[in-house]
């Protein structure tokens, strides 16, 4: 009876999935000679198998994986947003804390030595005061340093170095300030870069239309063929392969 108590514990471990190979072999040997434990163990296996079968999917896991990968490739709207925070921070939590302490010490020393007066250079991935006003169809954005395109959404933050790509029958409007806007038409590519310490627009191909407040200061659209300066409050620039 004492020995059966031990095997009942092993059956419990089997249910929990924590039984070792050696313990399982021992249990199986015991069930060959003990009818009560055999019935209990067989019932336990049957229950597990029954649940597994009743809750099995009609689609195989391989098919499901392949189908989802195909769907992700076909629909750009489902693209992965880049990991700006989250995993990287969590993975290096200790490193981040250590870096924070070092930064604090560095800043303190900088102040102490009177070297903190210099203005910091604008980081290349800085957010810019431009917002996405309207979007039609599918417009993709790629942040600098990333090779992943993701769907642009109204209200998304815009960063220096962002590249925008409007697909067929798609367009979007960037709000530059209260009045001025820049519209990128379909099949076009626009990049935001720092040029002569100013945020400038580079139209790689396609067409964009700027509507500016009046009177406006100098406003340029850079293209692979040259630089276009605004001559009116509304103007369109087109870049073709010819």
């Amino acid at each position: 009876m004492m020995t059966c108590e031990k095997y009942k514990n092993l059956i419990e471990k089997y249910v929990e999935g924590t039984i070792s190979e050696r313990q399982l072999a021992e249990l199986k040997t015991h069930t060959q000679t003990c009818e009560s434990c055999r019935e209990e163990f067989e019932r336990c296996i049957l229950l597990q198998e029954t649940i597994k079968q009743a809750f099995s999917s009609r689609t195989s896991a391989e098919q499901a994986g392949a189908s989802l990968v195909a769907r992700l490739s076909e629909e750009p709207n489902l693209r992965l947003p880049p990991a700006r925070f989250g995993t990287a921070l969590y993975a290096g939590k200790r490193a981040a804390i250590a870096a924070g302490i070092l930064l604090a010490v560095g800043l303190f020393l900088g102040f102490a030595l009177g070297r903190a007066g210099k203005p910091a250079r604008t980081p290349l991935t800085a957010q810019v005061p431009i917002s996405v006003d309207k979007i039609e169809g599918t417009v993709l954005v790629r942040h600098e340093g990333s090779d992943v395109w993701q769907a642009l959404e109204a209200g998304s933050n815009i960063y220096l170095g962002d590249t925008f790509h409007s697909t067929a029958k798609s367009a979007f409007v960037l709000k530059l300030d209260d009045v001025s806007t820049l519209e990128l038409n379909q099949n076009s590519m626009l990049v935001l870069r720092l040029y002569n310490d100013e945020i400038q627009f580079f139209l790689e191909h396609g067409e964009c239309t700027a509507s500016l407040e009046s009177p406006h200061g100098s406003f340029f659209i850079n293209t692979p063929h040259g630089r276009v300066e605004a001559l009116g409050t509304e103007f369109t620039v087109t870049v073709t392969d010819e």
Binding site: V15, G17, L46, T50, I51, A54, S57, R58, A61
Partner: protein, 195 residues
Amino acid sequence: MAVELKQNMAGDRQLVRAALRGETSAFGAIVERYWNMVVALALSKVSDAAEAEDIAQESFLKAYSQLAGLRDPSRLAGWLSKITAQQCSNSLRKIVRHRRALGCRAAPIEALDERPAMAANPGLTQNQIRFVRQTVRRLPEKFRTMIVMRFVADLSTVQIAEQLGKRPGTVRVRLHRAYKLLRKDLAPLLEEVES
């Protein structure tokens, strides 16, 4: 078991990192790894098998779009189970709204699942499958999750505890309670299958 647990978690971490680098095939591998668990979790809440698979697909797409926000990739299974639970609630709410809009009463659970038994379930008849699912669905939600994660996803109580951020003792107690209830309620069916 401890070695296997570490290997699984390391595998999940690598797959999540690769998927975050833009390798969609790595996300495909994540789907393959957890598809059965996610479908089973959905089936433990909704009665229609096709709907459960739709919920599973939507859960994976949501997981993909939120992957950068996954704080601890070694807890991928637990994270997926939470997303699936949320997707199930959304789906059930939609069904209720739809039925209200149509002015019809909720259909009994049996009437929703009329598909024939698939080749994947050779040992059980359609009626038996329906009976097992209904029995599991009657369990409290915290028990259902344990049953699916243990018997469908093949995670041990230690792994489930790690995934859900709970104490192994709590998971063990819940699993044994759920197991005991199922053994009692499914006893006639098990005898039928055995004979």
